[in-house]
């Protein structure tokens, strides 16, 4: 439609495309548009197939009853909603620690002037790529020393340690876009750094803080590594671990398989909610944090 309109009034198209979406203009022909739709639909079908197959499987025997029974008669002694709550509780610790560390460090690296600032920042980024599995042994030891097995803090802390380099990068990148003149003005008015931090930097970084918080909760929801080593109490099972708990608790009969697939579908629900309600925060957070400039 918009293509046709563009053909009739080329001037208007150029203006419109500049204003709202320059990419809109690149689809010039009807054939191209159809090809794009066709390819997208084929890919979408491929991408949706696994989840679709889980839904089909889950309804094969006993139908919707499989979903109801997940809540009325918990599989493997752990109610499925409890696994969400456990992930959420870990997420609270994870987000709290990451925000405390990243926002303060982000302020220091973007707004304070001290010798070795860039070097220090590079040193922080050095650990951006460390996979959790590489510090598994020492984290196990640290958790042992601190007596933090089977506690949300025990899992939230190493998750935060892995996220912090990213969080600092995100907050520092965002902080650099906050105008220095505001801070200088506050400085001239006699406000100290702590007041500037709390009354100017934190409120102005709110978008970045929200993005980072959403990401922390997503990553806690996804994390399998730390809970699997640091939680031994079955009642603390998180959503990412629940997959194996349910798989172990259920047999290989058709009824059990249907129930198992129902549990997989239900476990995918939080991710769907995140995408539906929080996609903007996720995309903004991940992409502002991805580059160093």
């Amino acid at each position: 439609m918009s293509v046709a309109r563009g053909r009739v009034r080329p001037n208007r198209r150029t203006r419109r495309s500049r204003a709202d979406n320059p990419m809109r203009g690149i689809v010039t022909g009807r054939a191209d548009r159809i090809t794009i739709y066709a390819l997208l639909i084929v890919l979408a079908v491929l991408f949706a197939f696994p989840l679709y197959s889980a839904i089909v499987k889950s309804l094969e025997v006993n139908g919707i009853q499989n979903y109801i029974s997940l809540f009325t008669d918990p599989v493997g002694d752990i109610p499925i909603w409890q696994t969400y709550l456990n992930s959420l509780a870990v997420g609270v610790v994870h987000a709290t620690v990451v925000l405390t560390v990243s926002v303060t460090a982000g302020y220091a690296f973007s707004k304070l002037h001290f010798r070795g600032r860039e070097l220090g920042f590079s040193a922080v980024l050095l650990f951006l790529a460390v996979p959790g599995i590489a510090i598994l042994v020492p984290v196990y030891r640290i958790t042992q020393e601190l007596g933090l097995f089977n506690s949300y803090v025990g899992v939230g802390l190493p998750e935060a340690a892995i996220t912090i380099p990213f969080g600092v990068l995100l907050m520092r990148n965002y902080g650099r876009n906050i105008s220095d003149s505001l801070i200088e003005a506050a400085n001239l008015d006699g406000a100290g750094h702590f007041r500037i931090f709390w009354n100017i930097f934190v409120p102005l970084s709110r978008p970045a803080i929200v993005n980072l918080t959403v990401l922390c909760f997503i990553w806690s929801l996804q994390d399998f590594l730390w809970p699997s080593f640091l939680f031994t109490n079955p009642s603390l099972t998180t959503a990412a671990q629940a997959v194996s708990t349910f798989s172990n608790a259920l047999g290989r009969g058709a009824g059990d398989l249907a129930r198992f697939n129902a549990s997989l579908v239900v476990l995918a629900v939080p991710a769907v909610l995140f995408v539906v309600f929080g996609l903007r925060f996720i995309v903004n957070g991940l992409t502002t944090g991805s580059t160093k400039d």
């Binding site: 918009s2 979406n21 320059p22 990419m23 809109r24 203009g25 690149i26 191209d32 090809t35 794009i36 390819l39 997208l40 991408f47 197939f49 696994p50 989840l51 197959s53 620690v97 560390v101 460090a105 002037h113 600032r117 220090g120 050095l126 650990f127 790529a129 460390v130 996979p131 959790g132 590489a134 510090i135 598994l136 042994v137 020492p138 640290i142 802390l157 190493p158 340690a161 912090i164 400085n187 001239l188 929801l221 399998f224 590594l225 080593f229 990412a240 194996s244 798989s247 398989l257 997989l264 991710a271 539906v276 996609l279 996720i282 991940l286 992409t287 991805s290 580059t291 160093k292 400039d293």
Partner: protein, 307 residues
């Protein structure tokens, strides 16, 4: 404040800028504490443990010198898992630079139901990896999996395969799961596309170039920085994706689909005196991660000057 006082005020402020380091130390304190515990202490602990033979209780450790490293570097399974790791990463990079690029560009051209498409393409990357891999595993089970059932139902039973238990197929399955998780590259491309300079697009349009030609010859080369970010992030991500293997093929058959993460996981959960050995592997993974981080810093630096 009078005009005459102003220069002095500025001078004072400059002076105070230079002495910010005390304040900076306070603001950096939480970061320093976390880094000291989880990175500095960790690396020291790994280095010292990697030369011992010890179980997870950390009692009665026996000093074995460099033997863990020697054993590691001559272990064909370790070599294999390292090679697999890089192969899977490369396959997902190819998928990202082609499919993810296409999806992001196509969705940026103002197609209908954009949000719905985003939901479908990004969802896999935001679900727990353990869940995604399990769904694939259950879908591809030889007897009860839906893929073989479907093939049999439509009379293509001959194509039904033992997807997870035949080495070549199992490898392909893990590779497919890695390609399924290209949500992050799609996000990177989408963000970069929204900042695309319009002029070159308009010039190409005036030249009468078709959609796919513009995508390939104009937009694709302009995304160089994003391509590099994606390549490095997928390379690093592959070391974090042990669940992909653990929950689909369990590294099998015969450890042929093992990656570094699942290799470490296997030894760490074995319960024997393997912790020294695990530490040695960890040190090697850490070195790789740090080298890749430095590469990322070096590569992304010129980009800053370009813009």
């Amino acid at each position: 404040m009078t005009i005459r006082e102003q220069p002095r005020q500025v001078l004072k402020r400059r002076a105070s800028k230079r002495s910010d380091w005390k304040v900076a130390l306070v603001f950096l304190l939480p970061l320093l504490v976390m880094y000291a515990i989880y990175y500095l202490y960790s690396i020291g602990f790994l280095a010292s443990t990697s030369t011992t033979k010890v179980s997870v209780t950390f009692f009665n450790s026996i000093d074995v010198g460099w033997r863990n490293y020697a054993q590691l570097l001559t272990d064909p399974v370790f070599i294999r898992s390292m090679v697999n790791n890089i192969l899977f990463a490369c396959i997902s990079i190819v998928a990202a630079l082609t499919v993810a690029f296409f999806i992001a560009t196509a969705l940026a051209t103002g197609v209908r139901a954009k949000r719905f498409f985003y939901l479908i393409f990004l969802l896999p990357a935001l679900m727990p990896l353990s869940l995604v891999a399990t769904i694939f595993g259950s879908m591809l089970t030889e007897r009860t999996g839906i893929l073989n059932q479907t093939l049999r139902a439509i009379g293509l039973g001959a194509l039904a395969q033992p997807w997870l238990t035949q080495p070549g197929l199992a490898f392909a399955v893990v590779a497919v799961i890695f390609c399924y998780l290209i949500g992050l590259p799609i996000m990177y491309y989408t963000a970069d596309l929204s900042a695309l300079p319009t002029e070159s697009l308009e010039a190409a349009l005036l030249d009468g170039a078709g959609t796919f030609r513009i995508m390939r010859s104009i937009i694709y080369p302009m995304m160089r920085g994003t391509h590099i970010t994606i390549i490095l992030s997928l390379l690093l991500g592959s070391f974090r994706s042990l669940e992909v293997v653990l929950f689909s093929t369990r590294g099998g058959p015969g450890q042929s689909t093992e990656i570094v993460g699942s290799y470490i996981y296997g030894f760490a959960t074995s319960g024997g005196p393997t912790i020294g050995f695990v530490s040695a592997v960890s040190i090697i993974v850490l070195v790789i991660a740090l080298v890749l981080s430095i590469a990322q810093m070096v590569v992304t630096r010129p980009r800053k000057d370009m813009r």
